[in-house]
């Protein structure tokens, strides 16, 4: 499913809509280049789950955990700094999800086969829809520029929710 977010506000709204459908045990992989909006997505997602603390990228701490009530914890992971699949395995992200968690994994697409059922959210800059600025590097990424967001489910866990995902995000469909 391909979506278009015209601004940061839209990215957060899409994240918020998905957060409303997410449940304990979910692993959501966030893919996309530097500055594509993975952390912005995580912020919108967390806010919708009731996280009041500021959500920052866990590049150096690997995983940040935010309690969202008595039975739910949002785990925000970033595996950019890891070099081997064994290191990723040791984070035991599927276990964090299983034990009352929802896990967002930045850069998780490089090892997604190890996650089993999951949803991939691929963010990229909308080159066509956004006329301004050059296309010559990440540094030119304006945070508020338009994004393309592609959703792809692996496994059965999200297929039962796909109608509701589509309904909730109808306004952003490309």
């Amino acid at each position: 499913m391909l979506l278009r977010a015209a601004s940061l506000v839209d990215t957060c709204a899409i994240a918020s809509s998905l957060a409303g459908l997410a449940r304990v045990g979910d692993i959501i992989v966030l893919a996309g280049e530097m500055g594509a909006g993975k952390t912005a997505f995580a912020q919108g997602f967390g806010k919708a789950l009731g996280v009041t603390e500021p959500i920052t990228s866990p590049t150096f701490t690997l995983v940040h955990s935010y309690p969202c009530g008595p039975k739910l914890t949002l785990h925000h992971a970033d595996i950019y700094r890891l070099d081997s699949t064994g290191d990723v395995d040791q984070l035991a992200l599927p276990e964090l999800a299983e034990f009352g968690g929802i896990v967002l994994v930045e850069w998780g697409d490089v090892v997604a086969t190890g996650f089993g059922d999951h949803l991939e959210v691929r963010l990229s800059r909308d080159e066509v829809g956004d006329g301004a600025g050059g296309a010559d590097g990440d540094d030119d990424f304006g945070l508020d520029e338009a994004r393309l967001i592609e959703l792809q489910a692996t496994g059965r866990s999200w297929s039962g929710r796909w109608d509701r995902v589509a309904y909730g995000l109808e306004g952003y469909r490309c």
């Binding site: 280049e33 530097m34 595996i79 890891l82 070099d83 081997s84 699949t85 064994g86 990723v88 395995d89 040791q90 035991a92 599927p94 276990e95 964090l96 299983e98 034990f99 009352g100 490089v110 090892v111 190890g114 089993g116 990440d138």
Partner: protein, 231 residues
């Protein structure tokens, strides 16, 4: 010598104390999966109820897996910290051994099966020997179909135990006729019993030498080269 056994390789958290007089006290919680929150108070509770000071302990035994990463880490970290602080040795025992040991009175092949998540299980095979069980099939991780193929290849009377056998009961029984019963989780009491016989032979190690058994897919480099933006 008194041995403190810490077992947290599956959903269960367990603590046991024992020695030459057998198991003195045991505490187990198999629900909630709050290993980190339960373990330290459990150790304190068991020691207090059995009227034992930590300084009375002569050895720390710990379940080294395979099992849950999150659970094993809590147990190993706590066990190593205690052993280091008390300056006493450690004994590490596999969760599969712990599941097989209580079934030592059967003449069937004992197959401990632990849920490895994502449709896979850890398993090994044991047979009865005087005084205990002996491993006859090396620990393996793989899908249920591989376990069934392994059972079929042996075609011996088998007893499957453990949370993996419990969860995948139907899949196992569809492929191979065997009994599935017995312990679901490794017990800290078995840990203390097995550790005691090793302690008598002084088969212990320093805390730094204890390593978890992850028994996972081979480690591979992440192909970051495909990412243009990786500096």
């Amino acid at each position: 010598m008194l041995i403190l056994g810490i077992e947290s390789a599956t959903q269960q958290v367990g603590v046991s104390i024992g020695g030459h007089e057998g198991v003195i006290a045991t505490f187990e919680v198999a629900r909630g999966r709050r290993h980190a929150e339960i373990l330290a108070p459990a150790i304190q509770f068991v020691c207090r109820q059995a009227d034992i000071e930590l300084t009375d302990l002569g050895c720390i035994a710990v379940d080294v897996g395979p099992g849950l990463f999150t659970g094993m880490r809590v147990g190993l970290a706590a066990a190593k910290a205690l052993a280091q602080a008390l300056k006493i040795p450690m004994i590490g025992i596999s969760s599969l051994d712990l599941l097989a040991f209580p079934c030592r009175h059967t003449d069937r092949v004992v197959v401990p099966v632990i849920d490895a998540r994502k449709g896979e299980v850890f398993w090994a095979m044991y047979r009865q020997v005087p005084g205990g069980v002996q491993q006859v099939g090396a620990p393996t991780v793989g899908p249920i179909d591989d376990l069934v193929a392994d059972l079929l290849a042996r075609s011996q009377d088998a007893l499957c135990v453990g949370d993996g056998a419990d969860r995948y009961r139907d899949e196992i029984l569809d492929g191979f006729h065997c009994e599935i019963s017995g312990p679901v989780h490794p017990s800290p009491a078995a840990l203390v019993q097995l550790a005691h016989s090793r302690a008598l032979r002084e088969e212990w190690v320093r805390p730094g030498e204890i390593e978890p058994i992850y028994l996972r897919a081979p480690d591979a480099q992440i192909n970051w080269a495909t990412r243009e933006s990786r500096p």
